[in-house]
């Protein structure tokens, strides 16, 4: 009986410790954002009010609730700058996810077709850049794309006049596709690699040309991988900050940058929080789809 008791305590701790950590450092902070987004900016420390005063008991809670308002959301709705910023982020994320699919699919397909013993090496080669600093990889593109950089000089060799590439949308798309390519290739590869080759052989036996077999068998079956990779890229790209900040121009203001400016330059914490909450609402659909895919995959594995 004593053994059982220790077992259940040990087992409970295994669940409880990480659970408590995530509640304290993930769930509670998300609720705090929601609370601050309903607060007002003041010149004080902390720079918002109302501040929940639990020592005042019920009166404190009542005053706190009475002090909340949706003014910050009205600010967001009232200024087209914010709407333009959200739309720009969604546009950049959608277009770069499409580009990632077009570029990532052939790479993943070739990886899955490679001889078995070099597949592991290829997987490692694709993962390696993901481990290398994001910031460093974006910085590398500044060296390449700047005015007298390698890209313009390479274009010069084939007789194309140099153009400014930095601070353009093109640079942002290049940076995003480059940084997120492993996130697209790996889920696609995982699906393509599991594909039952007997299906393709059956198609060939029945006289289906290889090209047609690709469009009617391989492509539809690899769709789950494409959706998984797409969501894995789309969701974080919408909130991307570093890439548009370093490679983009002032005409490409994505919502991550707007939030950053509200917080660090304008020191308006409540509006920054409201931006974050609206961003979360925009992303709730894609995040739920991501969860759904993951659960289906987990069920299939177990």
């Amino acid at each position: 009986m004593a053994g059982r008791e220790t077992q259940s305590i040990g087992t409970r701790l295994v669940v409880l410790v990480p659970y408590a950590w995530l509640v304290a450092f993930f769930l509670v902070p998300c609720l705090i954002i929601l609370k601050i987004s309903l607060s007002q900016t003041v010149l004080a420390q902390p720079p918002y009010e109302p501040v929940l005063d639990l020592s005042a008991g019920w009166a404190g809670i009542r005053d706190f609730l009475a002090g909340l308002s949706a003014d910050n959301y009205a600010t967001l709705a009232g200024d087209t700058l914010y709407l333009a910023s959200y739309l720009k982020s969604l546009e950049v994320a959608a277009l770069s996810t499409a580009l990632l699919l077009v570029i990532g699919y052939p790479v993943a397909y070739a990886m899955a077709r490679a001889p078995g013993r070099i597949q592991a090496v290829l997987v490692m080669l694709v993962i390696l850049p993901f481990w290398t600093s994001f910031l460093i990889r974006v910085y590398a593109w500044i060296i390449i794309l700047q005015g007298d950089g390698l890209f313009n000089r390479a274009l010069g060799l084939v007789g194309i006049a140099p153009r400014p590439w930095l601070a353009t949308d093109t640079a942002v798309y290049i940076g995003i596709v480059y940084s997120y390519l492993p996130f697209m290739v790996l889920p696609l590869y995982a699906t393509l690699q599991k594909l039952d080759e007997a299906l393709l052989e059956a198609a060939a036996d029945l006289g289906c040309p290889r090209r047609k077999a690709f469009w009617t068998v391989t492509l539809p079956l690899s769709l789950p991988g494409a959706v998984a990779g797409g969501l894995l890229c789309f969701i974080p790209i919408v909130g991307e900050f570093v890439i548009p900040d370093l490679l983009g121009g002032s005409q490409t203001i994505m919502i991550g940058q707007t939030l950053w400016t509200e917080f660090f330059a304008n020191r308006d914490w409540p509006v920054a929080s409201a931006i974050a909450i609206v961003l979360l609402c925009v992303l709730v659909g894609p995040i739920a789809a991501f969860e759904h895919m993951r659960l289906r995959d987990a069920r299939r594995r177990s």
Binding site: V14, V15, L22, P106, L135, I142, L246
Partner: protein
């Protein structure tokens, strides 16, 4: 044996070139004697020598490595526990919410994670610095560790653990002597992943840091915003080399524990 068609080979070559050329350019230019990118001034280790004299960068590197060590250690413990909870404990109340909280931070935009943690620290009245960044990084990276270890535990053969339990081995000893050795390669890989993610993070660190805890990415970012600097190329090359070594070590370790996955076994 299958052979790659010309189209597949081209796709692979172009894809890998796209992934590696920018890094190669960066490494190459860190050895450029000239300060200007437009001019190749011959090979030189001048920028590495200057790096050794740059106290601001060295301080930032020390702080970043400290934070990465602390947070990766904590994340490995918490992430491994979380993976055990998801694969070995069975049903418990709030399991779905728990698993959602493990996966949500993986795709959550960093600006939101950073802002939310900063607001938590402010609400609690905690002074920001080394420990707040470490706690923030632990939260993000423990989820990566949990996913890596969980995947290993799902694939692992459970009959060994069941045999140990059937023979009367208490659960904790079973975990220590049977489950942990099976999961070990993934735990090590998880630690290295957590370490490199922490070393790399700019956005969350900027939100949660305070005076005296300027990390290397924050330092690099403020330099990079003003344009290309050869010293920065040198720092980046050093960081890339460390990460490459760690990844190769991790992948060898992962395979050492799993003979079936040896790529060079014939």
């Amino acid at each position: 044996m299958r052979r790659l068609s010309a189209i597949n080979l081209t796709a692979l070559a172009l894809g890998l070139a796209f992934l590696y050329l920018p890094i190669a350019v960066l490494v190459l230019y860190s050895f450029n004697a000239s300060r200007l990118v437009a001019v190749w001034g011959g090979w030189s280790v001048r920028w590495y020598r200057e790096l050794l004299r740059d106290d601001a960068i060295l301080d930032a590197a020390r702080i970043s490595i400290g934070i990465a060590l602390v947070s990766a250690t904590a994340a490995t413990v918490l992430g491994t526990l979380a993976a055990l909870a998801l694969t070995r404990v069975g049903r418990f109340r709030g399991r779905a919410a728990f698993s959602a909280m493990i996966y949500a931070p993986l795709v959550m935009p960093e600006v939101i994670t950073g802002l939310s943690l900063l607001l938590l620290f402010v609400a609690l009245g905690i002074d920001r610095g080394f420990w707040t960044v470490a706690a923030a990084h632990t939260t993000l990276t423990m989820c990566f560790v949990a996913v890596v270890v969980q995947s290993r535990l799902i694939d692992a053969d459970r009959s060994l653990e069941e045999a140990a339990m059937d023979l009367g081995c208490p659960p904790f000893r079973t975990f220590l002597f049977v489950t942990l050795p099976v999961a070990a390669p993934a735990v090590v890989a998880g630690f290295l992943l957590a370490f490199s993610l922490s070393l790399d993070d700019l956005v969350i660190a900027t939100f949660t840091t305070g005076p005296g805890a300027t990390t290397l990415p924050i330092r690099i970012y403020s330099a990079v915003r003003l344009g290309v600097k050869p010293e920065i190329n040198a720092v980046c090359t050093v960081m890339i080399s460390c990460v490459a070594l760690a990844v190769v070590a991790a992948s060898l370790l992962t395979r050492a524990g799993d003979p079936a996955k040896k790529p060079f076994a014939h």
